[in-house]
């Protein structure tokens, strides 16, 4: 019979081994991509994990290429992502707040409809969206923003869950203090909701930043590479040069790493707002 102490130790070791294994599995592709982006290669696919020769030429290549307007792609994507982030966050937070705080006749049916609608993947509508946007002559970045923001009204569930945890009596206290509904939202609801706003903004930024499906169908018909977003542009870079596609493979990898940089920076900046217990002290306890 082993002692309880030894048992605990064994179980702990087993758990850490498992976690380490999972971490390694998870990190491997990332490490590989970063390494590959620095490897010198002119024959296509990278066959070694550790580059035989380090180089920055993949990065300089994509940024200076005249054939593939990489800088335009980044600029377009940044524009689309930032605008949709601001608009989507506003829409999502407003919808969530209203559904959490106000009681109106259509509230329950709306919650149910939203839940059911949310079960269908967004790209199911891509053909319809394509024709609708085409008829409005909006197969461009503006149309793309419209598509991203249009879905924001359905993504309120997490934010609503957060608002539900803020005691209603705080709203009521503010109301008695003389605040209108809007003032309650502005002075009480919003400042207390920083974590969820940050979360919503992050997801609202990342989705358009990495989206390939919608940018692909909406922007493809222009034929002008300068109007592409980065995901579609990169795909196009490897795809459009069939036969020699492997030539650009390391460029493609470098492009992927560049995409990850803004998201990482954004996350690092915003995670300090990710504080828990923002409502601590409002209530008893």
């Amino acid at each position: 019979m082993t002692s309880y102490h030894a048992q605990r130790r064994a179980s702990l070791i087993a758990r850490y081994v498992l976690l380490a294994l999972l971490a390694a599995l998870w990190l491997f592709p990332i490490v590989w991509i970063v390494l590959a982006s620095f490897s010198y290669n002119d024959t296509g696919f990278v066959s070694t994990i550790w580059p035989k020769q380090f180089t920055l030429s993949n990065y300089t290549g994509i940024f200076t290429s005249t054939q593939f307007p990489f800088v335009y792609w980044i600029r377009n994507t940044l524009f689309v992502s930032l605008v949709s982030m601001v608009l989507s966050t506003f829409v999502t937070i407003s919808v969530a707040y209203a559904l959490s705080r106000l009681r109106f006749r259509f509230r329950k049916p709306y919650l149910q409809i939203a839940l059911v609608l949310g079960m269908f993947p967004g790209f199911m509508s891509m053909i319809a969206l394509y024709y609708i946007l085409k008829s409005f002559n909006m197969l461009n970045l503006g149309g793309l923003i419209l598509v991203y923001v249009g879905g924001a009204g359905l993504g309120f569930y997490i934010a609503k869950g957060f608002f539900d945890t803020i005691p209603r009596s705080i709203d009521e206290a503010a109301e008695i203090d003389g605040a209108s509904r809007w003032q309650v939202f502005l002075h009480i609801g919003l400042p207390m909701s920083k974590p969820i706003i940050v979360y919503t903004a992050l997801t609202a930024f990342i989705a358009p930043w990495t989206d390939f499906i919608f940018s692909g169908i909406i922007l493809s018909s222009s034929g002008n590479a300068k109007t592409y977003t980065i995901a579609y542009g990169l795909y196009n870079m490897v795809h459009a040069t069939k036969g020699t596609s492997t030539t650009y493979f390391t460029w493609f990898i470098a492009g992927c790493v560049v995409i990850a940089v803004p998201i990482t920076i954004l996350f690092i900046i915003m995670q300090k707002f990710y504080v828990n217990g923002i409502t601590a002290g409002a209530d008893k306890g």
Binding site: E172, I176, A179, M192, K284
Partner: protein, 375 residues
């Protein structure tokens, strides 16, 4: 000057089948301290929230200074409210918590500062003005909530169980503080609590409620001494009044077993006059009206019951005895000198002069002249 009229108020929630508040009728005088008391779910908080404007009034009229307020927004009713869970703004400092309402009402900066400093002085919050609520203790948070109400200088204070989240000791000291505050500010106050001690100690008048109905309105002494019905008798007073189902017959009440007590002549006449002879009544007696001193037992031999002690709790000056006489259990509060151990057989004297009689069916008190709902 502010008077509040609750004119036959009713409340029914959209999803509820029954009324949560039924026919609440009360006139509150200027500067009065009114306490709504009752067990949870009796409609006391709902009534308070109707006065605050946080709940719609289903039927009836709410008047403040003769103006109908049913359809006036909470912020325009000129009331201040303290919530059970404090409801402080967690992202604001103590100072800003108190100043928030004033800022919304566009008070001048100097005026706000003066009022907040003043309230902080009264409540002993000066050292904490820069702190966030999270960095305060429960008692301090409750003080901030009070401060937020004070600074507004509103003529009406509503308090919804403000002390129920505090520990026992703090509750007693805050109770005194609120009472002092009321004497100082003289604001018309409506205070909701489920704690009858708070109601008894603080109120000018108490409104006892049960399942949506007002049971009795009166001064603490009135509801304690002359409860209108069995509910009020059982709810007001701690420990609660003992009730015995007894039969009244020719000047005696008896439970058919070992309890048989002589009813004093005056009380017996009332029972006779109202035709209770030979009928069952509910006999109520407060634990403090049951004695174990020799002197009492000798003076009132007709009021002595032999009992067994099941539990005895020494509370310091007094001792609480849980007794059993055959199948009937009751509680007595006796002097700690007359200490008894569980299992002891004791003789207990019932002060029947102070007993209450209630109709078994209507639960109303049997008295010479019916006690009015509002005393």
């Amino acid at each position: 000057m502010v008077e509040i009229d609750l004119d036959h108020l009713y409340k029914k929630y959209d999803d509820g089948e029954d009324y949560s508040v039924v026919d609440f009728d009360l006139h509150i005088k200027d500067k009065e301290f009114i306490v709504f008391v009752g067990p949870s779910g009796c409609g006391k908080s709902t009534t308070l929230r109707m006065i605050a404007g946080l709940e719609d009034i289903t039927k009836g009229e709410l008047k403040i200074d003769d103006k109908v307020m049913n359809d006036v927004a909470p912020k325009d009713r000129n009331i201040a409210m303290v919530f059970q869970n404090y409801a402080l703004y967690p992202h604001m400092s103590v100072y800003d918590n108190m100043a928030f309402g004033l800022k919304l009402r566009h008070y001048k900066k100097e005026d706000i500062d003066e009022r907040v400093q003043n309230a902080a002085e009264i409540l002993g919050l000066k050292p904490f003005l820069d702190r966030k609520p999270a960095a305060l203790s429960g008692g301090q948070r409750q003080r901030v909530a009070l401060g937020r109400a004070i600074v507004r200088d509103a003529p009406i204070f509503l308090m919804d169980e403000p002390l129920s989240n505090l520990d026992a000791k703090l509750r007693v000291s805050m109770r005194a503080e609120i009472a002092k505050l009321h004497q100082r500010l003289n604001t018309t106050t409506i205070y909701v609590t489920h704690d009858q001690t708070e109601a008894m100690t603080m109120a000018d008048r108490v409104v006892v409620m049960s399942v949506g109905h007002v049971q009795q309105i009166g001064t603490p002494a009135e509801v304690y001494q002359n409860p209108r019905n069995q509910f009020v008798a059982g709810f007001i007073g701690s420990p609660a009044m003992n009730f015995f189902n007894m039969t009244y017959q020719d000047g005696f009440v008896s439970d058919g077993q070992s309890i048989r007590l002589k009813v004093p002549e005056g009380r017996a006449k009332i029972l006779d006059d109202q035709g209770y002879n030979g009928k069952e009544v509910v006999f109520g007696i407060r634990p403090e009206d049951i004695h174990s001193e020799e002197a009492f037992l000798e003076t009132w031999p007709d009021a002595v019951i032999s009992s067994t002690v099941s539990v005895s709790e020494l509370l310091g000056a007094t001792e609480q005895l849980y007794l059993k006489a055959d199948d009937t259990e009751y509680v007595a509060n006796v002097n700690a000198r007359d200490f008894h151990n569980p299992g002891d057989h004791v003789k207990m004297g019932f002060d029947v002069n102070k007993a209450h009689f209630f109709d078994k069916d209507t639960t109303m008190a049997i008295v010479a002249k019916p006690i009015p709902l509002e005393g």
